[in-house]
Amino acid sequence: MTAIFINGQPVETGEHTTVLQAALANGFYIPHFCWHPALSIVGNCRVCVVEQEGRGVGIACNMPISDGMRVLTDSDPVRAQRKAMLQFILLNHPVDCGICDKAGECALQDYHYEYNGEPAISGDPKLPSTKFFPLSERILLDNERCILCSRCVRFTREISKSNVLGLEHRGDSMLVRPAEGRTLDDDPYSDNVVDICPVGALLSRSFLYQSRVWYLEPTPSVCPGCARGCTVQLWHRKAEWRVKGLDERHNTRIHRVTPLENPRVNGPWICNKGRDLPELLDRPRATQALQKGETVSLMQAIEAARGLLDQAGKRVALVSSWGSNEELRAFRNSLGDYFTSFVKPDHLPLEGEVVEDDLLIRADKNPNTRAGQDLLGAGVVQIPEDTDLILVWGEGTDFGTLPRGAKILFLGSWLLPENGHADVFIPISIQTERRGHYTNFEGVVSAFEPCQPRRDGVIDAETLFPLLSAPGGSASGGGAA
C-alpha cells in the first residue's frame, strides 16, 4: 500500500499505478478527455494536468505513483494550463451545442463551464471541416467537433480488435478515418465509440436528433440478445417531460440503449445488437386473447386453457428461454408436475449476424437458457406423436412441426400468424413491462426493471401460471363456473 497526498490529504492508492486513477478512486476529480479506464494511455489531450510539488506540472494519466508524493489538482498553474488547453481545443470546435446530440452529457461542455468559463481568445474565424462523414450505416462523424483524443481509434484496436479506424494526415488537418476500403460496419461493437467519444463527434444515426438527453432517463435492464446478458440502460422520456399531444406509446418509447458498466458481465461495452433492442421491442404486440382464432376475453382464454389442461392426458411444455428467473420458477412450481418440460431456444442466430466471438457475443441468442435448464433440465426437445397438449411459451416454434393431434396452448407477446392457429392464445407481457432477473451463461444474475406500462389485455406469465393450476379448475375440470 502506497500513500500519497492529494491536495494535502493522505490517500491510499491501493492497486492503482497512476495519479489519475488514484485520484478518481478517492473522490478527487481530475478532468480528462483521452484517458479511458479500459483503453491504453496516450496522454494527448493534456487536460488532466496536476502539479507535483517541487516537480512542476505534468499529466496525471501517465504520472506513476511514488510513495509520499504530493500532488495538487487545483493549483494556479494547473488551472491556467487547463484553461489554455480548453482554449486550444475550442479553437476550431464549432460550439454548436444547440444542435448537438451530445449536449448535456458532453465532457467538453462540462469542462468548459467548470474549468474555463471564458469566451474564446481567438478572434479569427473557425476552420471548417467535414461534417456527417459516414463511418458506417450506423455512425456519422463530425470532424469539426472531433478533438482527436483517439479513444475511438484505440477502441477498435484494443477492444473490438477490428482495426477499422485510424488517423489520417498530420497536425491540425488530422482526421479520424476508416482504414482503406473498410467501414465500421465490419465491427459488431462499433456503437461503443459513440459512448466513449467525449464530445459529439461520433453520432449514432438511430439517435440522431431524436431527443435532448436531459429529457431522458435510464432504466437498468438486461439485454436479451444473447446468453451473455449484458446489463444495459434503456433511455426513455422522464415522466415530467411527457408530451401531452403524443400518445402513450411515443412517450414511453425507448430512444437508445447504452451499456450499464458491469465488470462481472460486460465491462463498459455492449454489442450493436443490444443497441438495436428498441427495434426488437417495438414490434407489433399481441394484446388480444384468442380461442381458435376467435377473440375472447383474457379470463375466457384462461378458462379454456384450464379446460385443455384437464382434458389432456399426455402434456408437453416448450418453455421459453426468454422467461425471467421468477417466471421459470412460477412455471415449475405451478405447472411443473403437469408437463414434460423442455427449454427451447426462442431465437436462433440471424443470417449475417456474428454468431460468437471472444469479447461478448455468445452463440445462444437467448438470455435465460441457463436458468431454465437449471430448473427444468437440459433435455433435447422430443415430442411424442401421441401428445395431447403442447404448451408453447414464447416465439420460435413452427406449429407445422408439432404432432397433428395435439392441442396447442400458446403464450406469446407478438402479433404473429401462429396466434390464430393455436387452440388457445394468451398474450403475455414483455421484459420492459415487468421486473425480473436473468441468469447468464456463467451463472451471473442481473436484474431488469420496468420502464413501459403493461399493455391492456396482457398478463404476466408469472401471474398466469398459478391461475392455470389454481384449485377448482385443475382436477375436476369445468368447475370454475
Binding site: N44, N62, P64, Q81, F88, I89, G171, D172
Partner: protein, 435 residues
C-alpha cells in the same frame, strides 16, 4: 583554424569514404583492440569518463544514457543511430555519412559491444540520397570484410546493422517517434515514463544516439578518454560539427573545438557576414533542436554573440544552446516578422498532431503571423502569440511544441518593435525581404 579535430582529421578525397582509405588512417583498429582486450562495461566506463555529451541537441551525457542499460540482463537491446537530420539549418551529420561512414559503423560496433546489442539500426532521413548511398555501400563493404555478421573478427560477438530510410517527417527525428516509424506504426512521440532505455523499440531497452555522438566514440576508444578530455573545455569536452548557413560568406560544415571564440569563428573562419553587412542575430542550434531540454531555439542578438565562446555552459548561461549544431546567421536588414512566419509555417506543417497544444497552437500562431504579414495584424495579436507560445512550452509530449513556443517568444522578446511596426504600418520595417 577552428581548434583541434576529432572527426575532420583527414583530407577529403574522392575515395576517402571507402573502407580501404578508412583502414589506411587507422580504421577498425579500435574494434580489434576492444574485441581482444576489453569487457563491455569497460567500454561504457570509458565513454562515461570521456564526458561525451549528446550532439543531437539536448547535450545529455552519452555515458549516463548508456548506463541505463544493463548489458547482461538477458533481454534484447537495440541501438539506433539517429540520422533523421530534419532540423532546419542543420546538415552536419550528412558530412559524416558522406565522407566517413565507416567512422559511424565502427563506432556503432563498439557501442553495440558495450550495450549487448545484437541488432542495430541507422534511421536516415528519406531526403538524404547521397549520404544513404555512401552509407549503404559502406555497410556492404563492412559486411564483406567481416566487421558485421556472426562472430566478428573471430570473437563471439555478433552484430547486424539495418539501414532504415525515413519518409521525410520532421517529427521522426524525435527519438521515441522514430521508434514508431521503425516499428511500422504511426510516428507519434511517446510519453515518458517509461524511458526508452527501459522500454523502447519493440518494448526492449533501446539507446538512440545522434550520428555525431556515435561517430566520436571510435576516436575516444582509439585514443582514450583522457585524450578526449584534453580537447574542448572542462565541462564540454570534444568538438562540435557546426553547419553554418544564412548570411555568411563561407557557409558549410566546420568542426569547432568547444570553447572556441564565437566572434572569431564567425568573422575569421567563416569569412564574416555576407556582403559585409553588420550582424543582426544568430540562431545557434537549428531553429529548434531534435531533442529539447532548454531554451534551445533562442535567437542571439549581435551584441550577445560577441564575447561568447562556443560551448554548452556559456550558451546555456546566455539562455540558448548549441542545439543540433545548425547555425543560422542573420544580417542586419532582415525582417524578423517574415522570418518568424517561415519558422511557424514549418512547425505548423510538421506538427504530428498528437497532443492538443502543439496541434492547435502551431496552426493558430501560423495563422496569426500570416495575417500580420498580410497587413491585417491587430494590436492584441502579439499578446495572443505570447499566450499561445507560453502554453506550447512544456505542455507537450515531445519537444516540437516547446520549440515552436520558444521560437515565437524569442523573436517577440528581442525584436518586439519590428512586430509593432509591421502591425501599425502594415508593412515591414525593412524594404527587402529575406534573401
Amino acid at each position: 583554424m577552428t581548434g583541434r579535430k576529432v572527426l575532420m582529421d583527414f583530407e577529403v578525397t574522392p575515395t576517402s569514404h571507402s573502407l580501404d582509405d578508412y583502414r589506411a588512417r587507422g580504421g577498425y583498429e579500435a574494434l580489434e583492440k576492444v574485441l581482444r582486450t576489453m569487457k563491455p562495461r569497460e567500454v561504457t566506463q570509458e565513454i562515461v569518463d570521456s564526458g561525451l555529451q549528446g550532439r543531437g541537441g539536448a547535450a545529455f551525457p552519452a555515458g549516463r544514457k548508456w548506463q541505463g542499460i544493463d548489458p547482461d540482463d538477458g533481454q534484447p537491446h537495440y541501438l539506433i543511430a539517429n540520422a533523421d537530420e530534419g532540423e532546419p539549418g542543420t546538415f552536419k551529420d550528412r558530412w559524416v555519412l558522406e565522407y566517413t561512414p565507416h567512422t559511424l559503423l565502427e563506432s556503432m560496433l563498439l557501442s553495440c559491444y558495450a550495450l549487448g546489442v545484437r541488432h542495430c539500426f541507422v534511421y536516415i532521413r528519406g531526403e538524404y540520397d547521397l549520404p544513404w548511398r555512401r552509407l549503404d555501400a559502406a555497410v556492404e563493404e563492412a559486411y564483406a570484410a567481416g566487421y558485421f555478421g556472426e562472430n566478428i573478427l573471430g570473437s563471439d560477438f555478433s552484430c547486424d546493422l539495418f539501414v532504415f530510410r525515413g519518409a521525410g517527417a520532421y517529427v521522426c527525428g524525435e527519438a521515441s517517434s522514430l521508434l514508431g516509424s521503425i516499428e511500422g506504426t504511426r510516428a507519434f512521440p511517446r510519453n515518458r515514463p517509461p524511458r526508452m532505455t527501459v522500454r523502447g523499440l519493440h518494448q526492449a531497452p533501446t539507446v538512440v544516439n545522434n550520428v555525431e555522438t556515435l561517430a566520436t566514440i571510435a576516436w575516444i576508444i582509439r585514443n582514450g578518454a583522457s585524450a578526449f578530455r584534453e580537447v574542448g573545455t572542462e565541462k564540454s569536452p570534444g568538438t562540435r560539427l557546426i553547419s553554418i548557413s544564412g548570411h555568411i560568406a563561407r557557409p558549410g560544415v566546420y568542426e569547432v573545438e568547444l570553447g572556441y571564440s564565437w566572434a572569431r569563428f564567425l568573422h575569421e573562419d567563416c569569412g564574416g557576414v555576407l556582403g559585409g553587412r553588420p550582424l543582426k542575430a544568430v540562431i545557434p542550434g537549428g531553429i529548434s533542436s531534435q531533442v529539447l531540454t532548454g531554451k534551445d531555439a533562442k535567437v542571439l542578438t549581435a551584441g550577445e554573440v560577441e564575447g561568447l565562446t562556443l560551448d554548452h555552459e556559456k550558451l546555456r548561461s546566455a539562455g540558448s544552446s548549441l542545439g543540433s549544431g545548425g547555425m543560422i546567421v542573420i544580417a542586419e536588414g532582415t525582417c524578423m516578422v517574415r522570418l518568424l512566419q517561415i519558422m511557424l509555417r514549418f512547425y505548423h506543417h510538421e506538427s504530428c498532431g498528437q497532443c492538443t497544444p502543439c496541434r492547435e497552437g502551431t496552426g493558430w500562431m501560423h495563422r496569426i503571423i500570416d495575417r500580420i504579414v498580410a497587413g491585417d495584424g491587430r494590436p492584441e495579436d502579439l499578446e495572443r502569440l505570447n499566450y499561445i507560445a507560453g502554453f506550447n512550452d512544456g505542455t507537450t509530449i515531445c519537444g516540437l511544441g516547446d520549440a515552436a513556443g520558444y521560437a515565437a517568444t524569442a523573436m517577440l522578446d528581442n525584436f518586439r518593435e519590428e512586430f509593432d511596426y509591421f502591425i501599425e504600418h502594415k508593412r515591414s520595417k525593412f524594404a527587402g525581404n529575406l534573401e
